[in-house]
Amino acid sequence: MSAPAIRPESIDNKLYLHATGDWRLSQLDTQQPQLPAAPRAETNYLDGAEITSLDTSGALMLLKLLYDRDIPPDSVVLNNFSNAHQTIFELVRQNFSASQQRQPAARHRTLARIGRNAGSVGEHLIGMINFIGILTLEVGNLLRHPLRFRIKELANQVETIFVYALPLAFAMMFLLGLVFAYLLGIQAEQYGANIFVVDGSALAICRELAPVIVAILVAGRSGAAITAQIGTMKVYEEIDAIKVLGLSPYAVLVLPRILALLIALPLLVFVGDIAGLFGSMVIADQQLSVTPITFINRLQQVLETKTVVIGLIKAPVFAVFIGTIACYMGFTVARDARSIGINTTSTVVQSIVAVILINAIFAIILVKLGI
């Protein structure tokens, strides 16, 4: 292996360039040869007799050295090149101009970017409304032909969304109930109001914490799964295959998932209620000397049915939003791997924002109604 080099020689207004050594990528990596200054000439000759090996990268480097000296690559006459080297050199020379012109990447100015983003948000909203419209029609269709409903798919979805989420929902709400009652207990203890921890925990857990936390859990767990699954199906043209079979992808894929969420989320919230109260009960017994019997008695007095019902009523609303967002984002996946990731992230973000917003709206409405 010898280092690549190039040496100019001027004879009678002709410039001879002698290239020597290995003009290979592996050699050029460590050192890039320079072309020593030489007077300009009418005709330029490139002598390749001493080139020991040449690849396309080497040929490009050679041409670039000439090009940077304002020697047009097309005008260079090749001397003493071996056949193999000449073919490579000619191939690169043909394509040299393409390698030098950089296609300017489209510039994104702030204002244009804001405009484009606003446009895509608008498109997204319109698409979503369209999607809800299609779903409504599908529900109408299904009501007329109830036998077409995919009951097995529904059962599968309920299993993945509800049954497999049970341990996680229980554990999360148990710990949350524990921490909440503990912190509340520290305050209540100062006033000797230990028993009121039951009131506070019951209200907070059943009305706010369980529905919101469980909905966020489901949005992250099942919402993301739905988008990724439907998105992958779209990439592999499974959705088109469903359409070609004369089936509606909405009836086959979307409605069972939304319905499964509708069933699973209230159930999970109820489990969350119990887990949270159980956590509070444990900490109340340990920290505040409120025995489980006292805790349950007090719970019976202060926990109104309405509180639990309000929490449970929110759940199906969250479920519809999570399901619709997740399915819609799945359907809007473009045909590449990156887009699945983007849409899945977007599903989780949108669902969580939706859950928190709806929860706030519920709170305002319920306060205004005096419930």
Partner: protein, 254 residues
């Protein structure tokens, strides 16, 4: 002695109870264009993945550029990996990078050249495989199947490899693009002195650009040689395979 780039000896591969290769041996000399053919499930792609070190056979030996792929350490493998290019069946372009960046990636990772030079080399490769300059800034998802294959070929050529491995280069292309792609491969092989190992089902590819073919059948090598030599082998699958070729030739004759 001829310089053997690929030397596969007595490969045995099993997936569970399913024996894919049972004593497969083959060789590829420098400068050859060799095709591996065989029915579905005869382990063509598995063999290719074993040769380039993506899969490990149960026993046997594989030498690539004289390096024993099964016992070599990471440093040697790293050296070997820069000496061959691989074109995957669906291109396997990185979907988060545009075409130019895709092709420049091997250069940026394995050389110390300035980024501008890497991008120039990438655009040279794109022009060599016949892509228009406007394709450089497009994302892989915006390209047609044929363009995607060409871009993937440009990436496989980025480091000026000595060996090019192609997994079904013409699958999913229309006949015209497929022939153009065949022609491109052969031109590059001749001009750049490449050695090519390819897997194919495409009879046209076999008849037009191949020096030698290796037939895999029943987890063994059935035979190897020029297309004319292979047609002499008495095997039901090969007969059926080449009978469609006879129709093709008749059609051409008409």
């Amino acid at each position: 002695m001829t310089d053997m780039l690929i030397k596969v000896e007595q490969i045995v591969t099993r997936f569970g109870k399913n024996t894919v290769h049972d004593g497969v041996s083959m060789e590829v000399a420098r400068g050859e264009v060799v095709a591996v053919i065989g029915g579905s499930g005869t382990g063509k792609s598995v063999l290719l993945k074993e040769i380039i070190g993506l899969l490990r056979p149960e026993s046997g030996r594989i030498h690539l550029f004289g390096v024993d792929m099964l016992t070599a350490d990471e440093a040697d493998l790293e050296q070997v990996r820069q000496r061959f290019g691989m074109l995957f069946q669906d291109g396997a372009l990185f979907s988060s990078l545009n075409v130019e960046q895709n092709v420049a990636t091997p250069l940026l990772e394995h050389t110390h050249l300035p980024k501008a030079v890497c991008l120039q080399l990438a655009r040279l490769k794109l022009a060599m495989v016949g892509l228009p300059p406007s394709a450089a800034n497009q994302m892989p998802s915006e390209l047609s199947g044929g363009m995607r294959k060409r871009a993937a070929l440009a990436r496989a050529l980025a480091l000026d490899p000595e060996l090019l491995c192609l997994d079904e280069p013409t699958s999913g292309l229309d006949p015209i693009s497929a022939r153009a792609f065949d022609h491109l491969i052969r031109t590059l092989a001749d001009n750049l002195g490449l050695t090519i190992l390819l897997i194919t089902h495409d009879l046209n590819t076999l008849l037009s650009i191949i020096d030698r073919a290796v037939v895999l059948s029943g987890s063994k090598v059935l035979g190897s040689g020029t297309v004319a030599e292979i047609r002499q082998i008495n095997d039901p699958w090969l007969h059926e395979y080449f009978s469609s070729c006879t129709t093709l030739e008749t059609a051409h004759g008409n």
